[in-house]
Assembly symmetry: C2
Amino acid sequence: MKVLWIFAHPEQCSLAGSLMAEGLRTLDALGHENRVSDLYAMGWKAVVDADDFGGPSGSSGPSGSSGPDRDRLFIGAEQERAYEYGALSADIRGEQEKIRWADTLVFQFPLWWFGPPAILKGWFDRVLVQGFGFGLQGPDGRTLRYGEGGLAGKRALIVTSVGARESGFGPRGIHGQLDEVLFPLLHGTFWYTGMAALPPFVVYGADRLTRDGHARGADALRERLRTLGTTAPLPFHHENGGAYDEDLVLQPEFAPGRSGLGVHR
Amino acid sequence: MKVLWIFAHPEQCSLAGSLMAEGLRTLDALGHENRVSDLYAMGWKAVVDADDFGGPSGSSGPSGSSGPDRDRLFIGAEQERAYEYGALSADIRGEQEKIRWADTLVFQFPLWWFGPPAILKGWFDRVLVQGFGFGLQGPDGRTLRYGEGGLAGKRALIVTSVGARESGFGPRGIHGQLDEVLFPLLHGTFWYTGMAALPPFVVYGADRLTRDGHARGADALRERLRTLGTTAPLPFHHENGGAYDEDLVLQPEFAPGRSGLGVHR
């Protein structure tokens, strides 16, 4: 396997850093190739702006956006145009090259405000542009999304640490059921671009972790990495598999009478 | 009312920019004071790092973090310590001062990867530090969260634009029911810090909006702002109101037999 490990933590000298080191050693021992994007160490630029597109907006290539909806078209269309013309900035192209190389992506980050740190959110915003991660069409003209798309065939794993106890992230826990809190990543980003979303790997109680707890976390991570290629992904429905109607609403025979994020698996 | 409008869009010359201008005019006409944080125009720094804390880590004040869990303690404890000692960087202190002044916060952003752009995620990561937004204790030693906390008494409104049609964000829509997709913000950030979360204001189909559609969006926004002080917030449960047990799990008499994010309102 070819694993790209995206690390979004300010310090390598940390629980997270030692977990990554342990993870990379495990991948080596298993004979899996691996590459690392350590976003803080790389000084990764988090914010989408005109510098991403190889110049001022509209300076080259077709744009065609005007009128009251120019804002939405501007970013998406500029990203797509720059991708098509090879004009995205070098740091973005470097990450896209790593993604093309990989068959598996690991995203390791501390859960801040129930989501990824800004530096990782900006990696998604800047790297997974239209034409690369999504916005592709099949031979029949269908848009390829949710189970199909630019990153189809790859697998994605979240490795995260949270300060809270596990019970608070359970099915009725106050912080919200974890796989639904992470829906924007698991379903809205991984599955949207075609990647199979693996069940997240979580270290709970990271604020109060003892040395024993840390060792147990490392053991559990090693086990997850051993089964990286065989673990069943979250069973989300394919957009084009018959589960959704033309308005993109789940057909009544799926999860009948229910609503909310849980109906999509 | 005193409204702080946080704007996280790369261009003012856009649908979003014209909606903000319309919104600010409406607030003026209603006699509400308002201030703006235009994050792109301010060159807002998105990424939490040691520069936020007034110097290298551990250079002053009590820190007390060591051992395998140092990473988690480092960021949270450094933020809390720097807040207590007035050592947070000037841009962060400026935003905290605006929040103290305001009774209502409006967050306007395009929905990217089903969440806020990195520049806004970084505003939450950097500004809402422990000791300011959360981590406070009541007289009886209870932690004040979810309905209580540093920002209790304020109201928060999301104003967002999405490219997709509304049906895809409905209760069984493929993109996920919108108030559950936004749960990390509405419940995990606003309600967590004590703010009442108002129902989000959404412009759908923003990629294909006609001039008429734009005018309807502006009309609807004016109406939402007219009722800013009276709109009922999302009815999330208080952490300390009896709905949750000691493990922070919802008591069985609430939403009996159900699970997932929808049980918390």
